[in-house]
Symmetry: none
Subunit: 246 residues, 2 copies
Amino acid sequence: MAEELAPGPVVILDRPQMGENIGAAARAMWNFGLRRMRLIAPRDGWPNPKAVAMASGAGRLLEDAALFETAEAALGDLSTIYATTARPRGLTKRVLAPEAAMREARARMAEGERVGLLFGPERAGLETAEIVRASAIVTVPVNPDFPSLNLAQCVLLLAYEWRRQGEAVEPALAIPRGGRPAEHLEVARLLDHLVEKLDEARFFYPEAKRESMEVHLRNLFHRLELTEADIRTLHGVVRALGRGAG
Amino acid sequence: MAEELAPGPVVILDRPQMGENIGAAARAMWNFGLRRMRLIAPRDGWPNPKAVAMASGAGRLLEDAALFETAEAALGDLSTIYATTARPRGLTKRVLAPEAAMREARARMAEGERVGLLFGPERAGLETAEIVRASAIVTVPVNPDFPSLNLAQCVLLLAYEWRRQGEAVEPALAIPRGGRPAEHLEVARLLDHLVEKLDEARFFYPEAKRESMEVHLRNLFHRLELTEADIRTLHGVVRALGRGAG
């Protein structure tokens, strides 16, 4: 798969609306050498001739782009995900500027991790349910009086930061985790396991509070940067507790 | 004159062609707080309704923009000029990346100098006669296989660099937690609660592995940077799971 050999983080566009914007995002990526794109349920279907027309010289990124139905599938094999959004919306999650995020991303990729940059739909931006999946939030430090970046500009700035820092990676910045970092899908499955057991125990009560309780729990576990060993331990914990003192 | 009071370098567009691009450049400037624009002989005259339509929220920059007939007049009062161009064209002139250029620009403006960023026409870019006027060349480190930045993107990246270097605090250090951070003892008590329930469920087996399993669990939870709300949630989770599906 071409994607395996290419450098740089994966760019994931969540439910992009206009084909032109997908093409412009591809151009912005390729301007700074990023070439791995994933699409989650583009509004106007895929492939999209308007995206191809806009991408011009970066059309190969669109040909190679991987299409997914859900965020969970698109993010499944990634271990570090940066969600670009202006508003943290009360979630407990690290908020990084592009500079710090790309510095960390480089260090983690140097350790063999799979890193993704997640961008929301043009109008509404990422929803809480998607932000929750991220390891950290990236916020571009725009003028608070005029925070009007469009999708392709946001991709451009992240891609620029990635490349800018490319000349000298300080090994000291590598943040070793004890063991292989968990992939997104492994964390998602742990959460499914936990939620299932909590359902059996009627934890989500009253039902009206279920959604916010589940968001809180999922956000908590996705931000933990768990390792594969942690995942196994926590499955064991959930299983043991679910079994109870019997 | 408003320009005198505004922060940041002056952005000079040399013979811009499309009004839309002038408006997009104004937006890019204002996104990162630059607000002083000068125009040298725009192709379609000035003012230009298409520029105004594109600028939307950044329209005031166009109203305040100063119009000049020649580069010499537009650059006349500046002491440091950075010319953005991809190709140094054999001139003996310093070539800086945006990062180094904006660092130098900040230092010089702090000394009281007047600094300008000079951008050429969309198609052809700056001519040698204009590049010669500059103190240094700024070249954005684009992918050599796809050096396709447009005018507004180039302005955006320079403006971003300007603002990025002005952030007083490393944004990476801002880690807002949703609520009061948990105290160590609160985490320790949560762990005691968890270990108690796990003991009831005979999780720590065989006994010889108990110590390393418990160390792993405690290390995991102490590194999570939990909030007080997280602690309450997790107590609830442990309690619910411990109760089981009864």
